[in-house]
């Protein structure tokens, strides 16, 4: 794990995960809501697992409830890494 984690490191990892979930790549940007991307609570739990594996940041269900966009998630990961 690098000493500091930057948005440039986090965003591509999460974008790749969303594409893997079946989200069209062209629809993904930091500001679009997960709801608009049809990303639901099960997807968020999977994202949280990836975040834990890749960046050592543990996100619980309670942490996820205020995360509504990819940008929110990237910012949370960067702030806690």
């Amino acid at each position: 794990m690098p000493a500091t984690t930057t948005p440039d490191q986090v965003e591509p990892v999460l974008t790749e995960a969303l594409i893997g979930f079946g989200t069209p790549a062209e629809a993904i940007n930091p500001d679009v809501t997960f709801e608009a991307l049809d990303i639901d609570s099960l997807d968020l739990v999977e994202l949280a697992q990836i975040v834990d594996e890749r960046f050592g940041v543990e996100l619980k269900t309670n942490d996820l409830k205020d995360i509504h966009t990819l940008g929110d998630l990237v910012a949370t990961v960067v702030s806690r890494a």
Partner: protein, 398 residues
């Protein structure tokens, strides 16, 4: 008085191909889908039916169930707007094992200190197929799974018919699915000596030595007959009767004198108010195991009396192997299409008759059915499962 139950939609994904008609036509023509001792749905591509996201959210047994249910919904003429309020539509779907590929894959992760997937539980659970179909087709009435091993598909249809008869639902999407051709399931069935060491399914033949594992799904749309006729639906068949019983005898072996199975056949005939002599065709459970085929033969004799020697009996498993929890549903569909075509499809591979088994098993070639007076064909579909579960459907072509 109980309500009439009719079949308005059918769909099947089987080792013989995509679609219920494919199953019927290829089996009746004598095609066998077994290769290297397995009967896989090689032509099934989930991407033809599901988005990438939907496919990822479903174990293969659920993918097969969804694909079969799409066909059933389409043939029922429900595509677009279902003809009933969501609360009046149920989904009762059978499986023998559920998402065993998901269990195995995640157990493998655990064994290698990798995190288990959050989707593991929603994919592996036995009710995943029923839940996924309900979400896809907005069924908000009674929705659940039936898990009674190789009787599950038939018991699901029986439960669906009961739900309509009682007025609990106006329509039910029902059937069964299975995708258990996995390393653990294969090894486990082999350890029980249930599988054919030669990899050949030849029900009722003297050389039969076990079943061949298959996979697939069958789905049916059942509706209240009055509602279906009111909406001008095409009616494929009537569910005339359903009978169930349990041997309560052994975890895997059938009661060898066929009493439990005969009780289920008798219950189905009484429920249908049909005499044994009026049954034109029996779609046997016919697994190709030494024990089943003998017990089933005795059961048919016990339940039918003298009429047993006159009724054609054949096994779909001779063409597609044993689809476990999907078998009863797929075979009910095969029975309906055979009855509508007025044909008894053949028991393939039956070349050396077993001297103890002396019914008319329709060996090798399909045969025309000609009920007296030109009436509709009435047929039984037998399904029996480990645990001693016996389920029999009485179906009348329309």
């Amino acid at each position: 008085m109980k309500r009439e139950v009719v079949v308005t939609g059918i769909g099947a994904i089987t080792p013989l191909g995509i679609g219920a008609t494919t199953l019927h036509e290829r089996w009746a023509a004598g095609d066998c889908a077994i290769s290297d001792g397995l009967a896989e749905c090689e032509g099934f591509d989930p991407g033809d039916f599901l988005t990438a996201k939907e496919a990822r959210r479903a174990d293969r047994f659920t993918q097969l169930a969804l694909a079969a249910s799409d066909e059933a919904i389409a043939t029922a003429g429900w595509a677009g707007e279902p003809p009933y309020p969501p609360e009046a539509v149920g989904c009762i779907f059978g499986t023998g094992i559920g998402g065993i590929a998901t269990i195995e894959a995640n157990h493998d992760k655990l064994a290698h200190d990798q995190p288990v997937a959050p989707l593991a539980v929603p994919l592996m659970m036995g009710n995943a197929g029923a839940a996924a179909i309900a979400m896809r087709h907005r069924a908000k009435g009674p929705v659940y799974s039936v898990l009674s091993a190789c009787a599950a598909g038939a018991q699901a249809i029986g439960a669906a018919a009961r739900a309509i008869e009682s007025g609990e639902a106006s329509a039910v999407i029902t059937g069964g699915s299975e995708a258990a051709i996995t390393p653990l399931a294969r090894a486990a069935f082999a350890a029980l000596d249930a599988l054919s060491p030669r990899g050949i399914s030849q029900p009722f033949d003297a050389r039969r030595d076990g079943f061949v594992m298959g996979e697939g799904a069958g789905a049916l749309v059942l509706e209240d007959g009055e509602h279906a006729r009111d909406r001008g639906a095409g009616i494929l068949a009537r569910v005339r009767g359903y009978g169930a019983s349990c041997d309560a005898y052994h975890l895997t072996a059938p009661d060898q004198d066929g009493r439990g199975q005969a009780a289920a056949i008798g219950n189905a005939l009484r429920d249908a108010e049909v005499m044994p002599g009026e049954i034109d065709y029996v779609n046997a459970h016919g697994t190709s195991t030494p024990l089943n085929d003998r017990a089933e033969t005795l059961a048919i004799k016990r339940a039918f009396g003298e009429a047993a020697m006159r009724v054609p009996v054949s096994s779909t498993k001779s063409a597609i192997g044993h689809l476990l929890g999907a078998a009863g549903a797929v075979e009910a569909i095969a029975t309906i299409l055979a009855a509508r075509a007025r044909v008894a499809p053949p028991t393939l591979g039956l070349e050396e008759p077993d001297p103890e088994l002396d019914l008319d098993y329709v060996p090798r070639e399909a045969r025309t059915l000609a009920p007296a007076g030109g009436r509709h064909v009435i047929a039984l579909s037998n399904s029996f499962g480990f645990g001693g579960h016996n389920a029999v459907l009485c179906l009348e072509a329309q």
